[in-house]
């Protein structure tokens, strides 16, 4: 996903005002809510939806599905 975004961003910017600009992608780790510990936990692997501390299975995703343009950095 990230590679596809970076590649197509450059192509889309060609010949526009944005030509030469840089796309900076920040990965958001997958955070789930553990129903036993009652706190958010960061997953170690996308193949294993379990609390890394107590091992309880959980499907409740709090973060990690974001695909958001957060900000533009401009030179004056």
């Amino acid at each position: 996903m990230k590679e596809a975004l970076l590649f197509s961003y450059e192509v889309a910017c060609d010949g526009t005002l944005l030509e030469g600009s840089r796309l900076v992608v920040t990965d958001v780790p997958i955070e789930v809510f553990c129903p036993v510990c009652k706190v958010p936990r960061t997953l170690k692997s996308m193949q294993w939806f379990c609390c890394p501390e107590c091992g309880t299975a959980t499907s409740e995703i709090l973060h990690g599905k974001e695909l958001v343009i957060t900000a533009l950095e401009l030179k004056q």
């Binding site: 996308m46 193949q47 294993w48 939806f49 379990c50 299975a57 959980t58 499907s59 409740e60 995703i61 709090l62 973060h63 599905k65 974001e66 695909l67 958001v68 343009i69 957060t70 900000a71 533009l72 950095e73 401009l74 030179k75 004056q76």
Partner: protein, 241 residues
């Protein structure tokens, strides 16, 4: 003149347009009393075969119809039409998944009476359809015994976006040494507590449990307030938080 770069906060969800349309569709379906079930899988898993059986069996008791996405051909729509229920094709051209706007457009062009159940068969693809909410109540992810038990681990995102898994072509399980226990464990690993069904569209094996699950979902929807009904689907699209 300052040389410090200026940071301008934007915070714009890239898939927002699709999510807004999907939410409107969900609201419309709810108002009409129509439950919507979508099917996603690799090409060749047996979405069309399962759907043909499903439509044939459900049409006795429910008003059912199907939308089917395909890149180029009408083959799947023609197969589904054999069930005798209304079927409409969405040709996506070069696009590898369905989007909410395509569903909306197809419904506009389609003069069809009130429905209890609308099925949406997505384009065969285990990657892109995961990101596009279609306004469905229930997303089924299919996996055939010939594909290997580790499909859920290879494509966790789509399995995670689904509400139930269906393992198809079980009549071939012995021939391909399919390890049912491992497959079910892999599904649970990427989507804990997701119901899973083992079926054969060819022999009819396992279809009654699967159909019971679908109709129970339909009946549950009729008695659930709108807010609750839409909550999971919005979590799926990642926009509610």
């Amino acid at each position: 003149m300052t040389t410090e770069p200026r940071l301008l906060a934007v915070r714009k969800n890239v898939l927002k347009q699709n999510d807004v349309l999907a939410r409107a569709l969900r609201e419309r379906f709810r108002a009409q009393g129509t439950s919507v079930i979508s099917l996603v899988s690799s090409p060749g898993t047996g979405k069309t075969a399962l759907l043909e059986r499903t439509l044939t069996l459900l049409k006795e008791n429910y008003r059912v119809a199907a939308l089917v996405g395909d890149l180029a051909t009408e083959n799947d729509a023609l197969r589904l039409a054999r069930s005798g229920v209304p079927v409409k094709q969405i040709t996506t051209g070069t696009i590898c998944h369905l989007e909410a706007a395509m569903v909306e457009r197809a419904l506009e062009e389609w003069s069809i009476g009130p429905l209890d159940l609308l099925f949406i068969e997505n384009v065969g693809n285990l990657v892109c359809p995961a990101s596009y909410d279609l306004g469905e109540d229930l997303r089924l992810v299919l996996l055939s015994v010939t594909e290997g038990e580790d499909k859920p681990l290879k494509y966790p995102t789509i399995f995670n976006s689904a509400d139930a898994a269906v393992i198809t072509k079980c009549d071939l399980a012995v021939a391909v040494d399919f390890d049912e226990v491992t497959a079910l464990a892999n599904i649970q690993a990427v989507r804990p507590a997701m119901p899973a069904f083992l079926v054969s569209s060819k022999t009819g094996q396992g279809l009654s449990n699967y159909l019971q699950f679908l109709t129970a979902t339909l009946h549950a929807k009729l008695h659930v307030p709108a807010d609750e009904a839409s909550s999971h689907a919005e979590i799926r699209s990642g926009t509610s938080r």
